[in-house]
Symmetry: C2
Subunit: 353 residues, 2 copies
């Protein structure tokens, strides 16, 4: 069967205007990868899966929402789109804008530019501007300019982004034939947790499929929803969730409460350990993407979560290739050995378990 993008696959379930003209890179339909070894560690009889959103066209879950946002913008005649972002949103916006022949404008806050993170947006041909201010300043500017001009806003304030992102919840239910008991995922700007909860609620209403509890996970240094107040200078290695004032904070808290789940925070070390654990099962994810598993393990270790017999889906939002520097920078130089088989054998056997 042909791979479809999320609009074609779920159009009747998406609350989008009739003028929408589908622009797709065949995003979605990402694999739900069983992780039996990790599940066994989590609890007796536990079943766990990773929804690997890093296998979307630009390497992150953002593509699900961007296909809808850009399709709507194209349908109403927009000639350009704009967003404030230094990472995944920028790459996704640039790709879908390019796909449809629209201009993509990306604002980034002033400061050291992480070239690797911007490479995606630049590769897809976005116009990038550095704003002499903070990320919030950049965001205010894109909102203002999109109100005054025909340039379409594609930051996550755009409601169509969530319409696209909720399709991941549909896919999980469609593939499993049920919904998991728990869904664990990172929480940064909080659009994704809100979108998943929308999706699960809609499938409950439409098909009677029970809704999962949701465990949202922030990084300790960027945990406004756990602290109950904005964080002025968020800090975490998990850059994709380094956000102090989430755009969808209230919706996220509602999702956690309604689902009888919760939002918690974990340390950078816990996130790094979870990234390694996933990679040891063959799944290399962006650091922020490891927060879901890190949170689950955190709760189990604290005695607040019994995973026994549970069915758990862990959402991994981006591919590890998004940020190879975190690996490369701590990588020891490989050991140099002579080009002789006995030397190689000795080296290999010497370091065997």
């Amino acid at each position: 069967m042909a791979v479809q993008g999320v609009i074609d696959r779920y159009r009747p379930l998406l609350n989008i205007p009739d003028h929408t003209q589908t622009v797709t890179l065949l995003e979605g339909s990402t694999p739900l990868i069983p992780i039996p070894r990790i599940a066994e560690e989590l609890g007796k009889g536990c079943k766990a899966w990773v929804k690997f959103e890093g296998l979307n066209p630009t390497g992150s879950f953002k593509d699900r929402g961007m296909t809808v946002a850009i399709s709507e913008a194209v349908g109403r005649g927009a000639k350009a789109v704009i967003c404030a972002s230094t990472g995944n949103t920028a790459a996704s916006a640039a790709a879908y804008a390019a796909r449809s022949g629209l201009r993509a404008i990306v604002l980034i806050p002033k400061g050291k530019v992480a070239a690797g993170k911007l490479a995606g947006a630049v590769a897809y041909g976005a116009d990038v501007y550095q704003i002499d201010g903070s990320f919030d300043d950049a965001l205010s500017l894109v909102v203002e300019i999109s109100n005054r001009t025909p340039i379409a806003l594609v930051n996550s304030l755009n409601p169509y982004r969530l319409e696209g992102q909720k399709t991941a919840a549909f896919e999980i239910c469609d593939e499993l034939g049920f919904s998991p008991d728990w869904l664990c995922l990172p929480v940064g700007n909080a659009g994704n947790i809100s979108a998943y909860w929308m999706g699960f609620k809609e499938y409950y209403e439409l098909k009677g499929i029970p809704r999962p509890h949701i465990l949202g996970v922030q990084a300790e240094g960027a945990a406004p929803l756990v602290l109950g107040h904005p964080v002025e200078h968020p800090e975490t290695v998990a850059t994709a969730i380094r956000i102090g004032k989430p755009a969808r904070g209230e919706q996220a808290i509602e999702a956690a409460e309604e689902s009888k789940g919760r939002i918690i925070a974990v340390s950078d070390d816990e996130i790094l350990a979870a990234q390694r654990k996933l990679a040891a099962s063959g799944i290399w994810v962006e650091l922020a993407s490891a927060a879901g598993l890190a949170g689950l393990i955190h709760e189990i270790n604290a005695g607040r979560f019994d995973a026994s017999g549970k069915r758990i889906t862990i959402v991994c939002t981006g591919h590890g290739m998004k940020d190879p520097d975190i690996i490369a920078s701590s990588m020891p130089a490989p050991r140099l050995i002579p080009a002789k088989s006995d030397a190689l054998e000795e080296a290999i056997m010497g370091s065997a378990k």
Copy 2:
């Protein structure tokens, strides 16, 4: 329908031993993305698709073959696998070895180590050794040691790699409902062109589906199959096809001849231009992956190829995220503007077409 890996999806068509124990990350089933704007440029009535293999779990087509090679190795009791590689093969081998609990050993030639390229293999936990010699020395060593020890060889000399890789040809036919008139793809070690041709021939025998002509494309500085002799010091920006002595050279030439296609060479500039052209349609691929399109355009420009009315599939073997440095290193610093909407508007409008 659940996403399956290539072994489960095509098992009856794979020539693999009964002892094979499936190790999968749900590779394959990659999207076949229509590229109508590019097709229009190629020729009147031309239809073209990109088979985007960069959306495999580790970001390249290597996963199709690696799932089979590792599954076979696990089934016969191997405890470790070994390969010589600095890039995609190493990452894929490391991921599938991790997935199955096997040790992965990667040999790289001595010299400056491109950290970004190695990050994947290291992230998945491979043991990396630098060999005091060339890539060919490293390859000789892995062959020798896999003959003398129970360490399984997973370089492309392993025949099961091709069994997995041929499934991409099956997928193209299954999704289109026919086979394309032409298939264009990069040729480095020449395993992939050989595997595609195997796949198309088998579908022809099984289902009577006509076989495509194959256009294999090498980089000018690494074009042994065009020159007719090995290249001692291959040079090209497209690192994934920087190979002077292809392991499957004879099979590749056979594929080109039998299919009434050909193998040609293109310049690095042509490859870079094709990468930009694909990105301008929303598909960011690794440089080597752009060789297929570069070759097609090269032939059209030379008057040797009429794309009018043709149905053409272009295989893009790896994701652009595999090598962001090529973008990042030539990226100008983004223009700094004040955090004021009039300044932003002026900047944006000033540079509009």
